[in-house]
């Protein structure tokens, strides 16, 4: 079968699977819709969380970034996994015991304040929209490259599928679909990695392979060869970094804390039956995530080596245009890779000095990797289906947070407290539908700043939610004034700093370079400083205001251990 047929087959059959699961697991109540009735097995929940978490960015972009950044790429690896330790130890079990539906629920109840709830709702919606627009774009890119359809058509098909299972199934449909998507995604990621690892090092385990010797008989370790090559070509050695230590530290911290503060991740721990399941579930989630995250740096190293070798050729003189590798040709048509023959010798050359003639978008590395290594067609089809699974699963999870924020936090808990369950469910479905429409629009007409605002999503989650939730659990006397003042100052500081350097809505006020950064901390890492500021302000304000009232302190006492509900009756206690 030719490649195009295989791709249609792979994508078509996975889509059919997702839709079948959605029909099988329709939501009947708001409990089903918001938290899947609170009855998901921890292993299934771990898989769903992993699929929800690993977006188009993890699947498509991360290994490519590591290929180009080398050691500096470690911020993503540690940042996006280390957050789960914080989640498992400091948030998940307590929030599960609290037993409501959303993060704004917790913030609003714990700080007995509509103001706090509203700030939390706005943050949740903003963070989620930022993210979802990027996912829809990812769907569009995969479609346009592999299915040879317009980006617009690709986004519309993606929207249709997500619409079907998110609106119909709510959290229940999404959770079980995500389990399937996780399997597709991880298979699609590891199969080419194993293939390439075998080709380059002869070791079938990529995690070990990239620390192994090359299979070309030279006996040289892969990473040493890569260090040598990158240095020769004028780059920083692959295993050394360019980023300053303080910046590495802050970015990693901001990503970890941001991960633990992202509403679509936290809400996952409301869907399991028991507190101890919430703890376990975080462990399973990290296990499933780690399979991809420990493979990614290997894929990055293989890709960089393969890319240099295929472009510069065995003699390191550059390959002539007519012998140009096929993958360069295919991807040139997408504009994501460009060759400009500056010295007119008709040869391609890739380096970090005046000899360089290539412009390569890191985003293509994972998708092009199987082609670079000349793997069979079915592997390429698999990668296409995997990329779509990654983008769709994350988009669905985010859409649910948006619709829940609107129907539950905004309508039920704020504007229309008397709304009936049936109407609330209808509102949730309508909100999900509207959110999909808007996300699709953003996917087709991406505002130039989609990539820019990723720093925003993590920075804001780190600087607003995380400290408020942590203090809410571990510091009983913390009161509404401290929490609100802390969240607002963390938000304003972080958002302000990012805007100054990234502009987003206007021209940046200062150039985004190290000389201008505060203490050498880039906008990506500033969320960590925002978080510290949030804590400092909250603790100071509390000193001068009355402690949280006794019934709130009792509630905090109650969420600190798994059994017994002396406090406000949680939803799950009624259900089971």
């Amino acid at each position: 079968m030719d490649q195009q047929t295989l791709i249609y087959l792979a994508v078509g059959s996975t889509f059919a699977l997702y839709i079948a699961i959605a029909i099988w697991s329709r939501a009947g109540s708001t409990g089903d819709f918001y938290v899947a009735g609170g009855g998901v097995h921890p292993i299934a929940n771990g898989m769903a969380t992993a699929a929800d978490w690993m977006s188009a960015a993890s699947f498509i972009s991360m290994a490519g970034l590591i290929a180009f950044l080398g050691y500096d790429g470690s911020v993503y690896l540690m940042g996006w996994t280390g957050g789960y330790v914080l989640l498992a130890l400091c948030l998940a079990p307590y929030l599960r015991k609290f037993g409501k539906f959303t993060v704004p629920d917790f913030i609003g109840d714990r700080y007995y304040s509509q103001m706090a709830r509203t700030v939390a709702v706005i943050c949740a919606i903003f963070v989620s929209f930022t993210y979802v627009a990027g996912q829809m774009r990812g769907v569009g890119v995969v479609f346009s490259r592999f299915l040879e359809v317009e980006v617009t058509t690709g986004v519309l098909i993606g929207m249709g599928v997500v619409f079907f299972y998110a609106v119909l199934g709510g959290m229940k449909g999404i959770t079980y679909t995500q389990v399937a998507q996780y399997c597709v995604m991880i298979f699609a990621y590891t199969v080419p990695a194993i293939y390439i690892s075998l080709l380059i090092t002869g070791n079938p385990i990529p995690q070990l392979g990239f620390g192994d010797t090359l299979a070309d008989g030279s006996g040289v370790h892969l990473l040493d060869r890569l260090d040598g090559l990158t240095r020769e070509l004028g780059f920083t050695a692959f295993t050394d970094g360019k980023k300053s230590t303080i910046d590495m530290f802050c970015i990693t911290a901001a990503l970890m804390v941001g991960t633990a503060g992202l509403p679509h991740v936290i809400v996952r721990f409301f869907t399991v039956p028991k507190v101890r399941d919430a703890r376990k579930s975080a462990g399973w989630a990290l296990l499933f995530i780690a399979i991809l995250y420990t493979t990614a740096p290997a894929v990055g190293a293989f890709a960089r080596l393969n890319m240099i070798n295929t472009i510069n050729g065995p003699e390191a003189q550059g390959v002539p245009r007519e012998d140009m590798p096929e993958w360069v040709e295919t991807w040139e048509t997408t504009g994501l890779i460009q060759w400009k023959d500056d010295n007119g010798d008709g040869r391609l050359f890739y380096s970090n000095d005046s000899r360089n003639e290539m412009t390569i978008d890191p985003d293509i590395m994972v998708l092009a990797n199987p082609e670079i290594a000349e793997l069979p067609n079915w592997v390429i089809a698999l990668v296409a289906a995997g990329g779509l699974a990654a983008a769709l699963s994350t988009a669905a999870g985010l859409l649910l947070v948006i619709s829940t924020s609107i129907s539950h936090d905004l309508l039920k808990r704020n504007l229309m407290p008397r709304i009936s369950e049936k109407h609330e469910l209808l509102a949730a479905r309508l909100a999900a539908a509207a959110a999909i429409g808007l996300a699709g629009y953003l996917g087709i007409n991406p505002p130039g700043f989609v990539a820019e605002v990723v720093a925003f999503a993590f920075g804001l989650a780190a600087a607003s939610f995380f400290p408020a939730i942590i203090m809410g659990i571990f510091f009983k006397p913390m009161n509404q004034w401290g929490a609100v003042a802390g969240m607002l100052s963390g938000l304003v500081f972080t958002a302000g700093y990012i805007l100054v350097f990234k502009g987003v809505f206007f021209e940046p006020l200062l150039p985004n370079t190290r000389e201008y950064w505060l203490l050498g901390i880039s906008p990506e890492g500033i969320g960590f400083v925002g978080m510290l500021l949030n804590l400092a302000v909250a603790l100071t304000v509390r000193q001068f205001t009355p402690d949280a009232p006794p019934h709130v302190q009792d509630m905090v006492e109650n969420i600190r251990f798994p059994k017994g509900s002396s406090g406000p009756g949680g939803f799950h206690d009624e259900l089971h």
């Binding site: 789960y84 620390g211 101890r276 780690a290 251990f561 059994k563």
Partner: protein
């Protein structure tokens, strides 16, 4: 109240915090310590084809995170049982 006494509740919480401090210290040392602050120093040692600091930053820290969470689950389950606050058990 699920605990025998107020004192038991306090002890449970103190044991919980103690466990958190230990585990989070390891979390910090492995990622921020070995992977970032002391990476250059550790890079003089090797683990097969990896420089040690680099390995911690791209592999070792993630494995450690996993172990930390599962140790936490195990220890907390023991603690819950010891204090009689395990769900659906009298």
């Amino acid at each position: 109240m699920a605990f025998q006494s107020k004192e038991a509740a306090k002890q449970y919480w103190r044991a919980n915090i103690k466990l958190l401090v230990v585990l989070l210290s390891i979390w910090f040392i492995v990622s921020f310590g070995a992977g970032i602050l002391f990476v250059d120093w550790l890079n003089q040692f090797r683990l097969g084809g990896f420089k040690l600091g680099f390995w911690f930053a791209q592999q070792g820290s993630i494995y450690t995170f996993l172990v930390l969470i599962f140790v936490y689950v195990l220890k907390m389950n023991q603690l819950d049982r010891r204090f009689g606050v395990r769900e659906d058990e009298e």
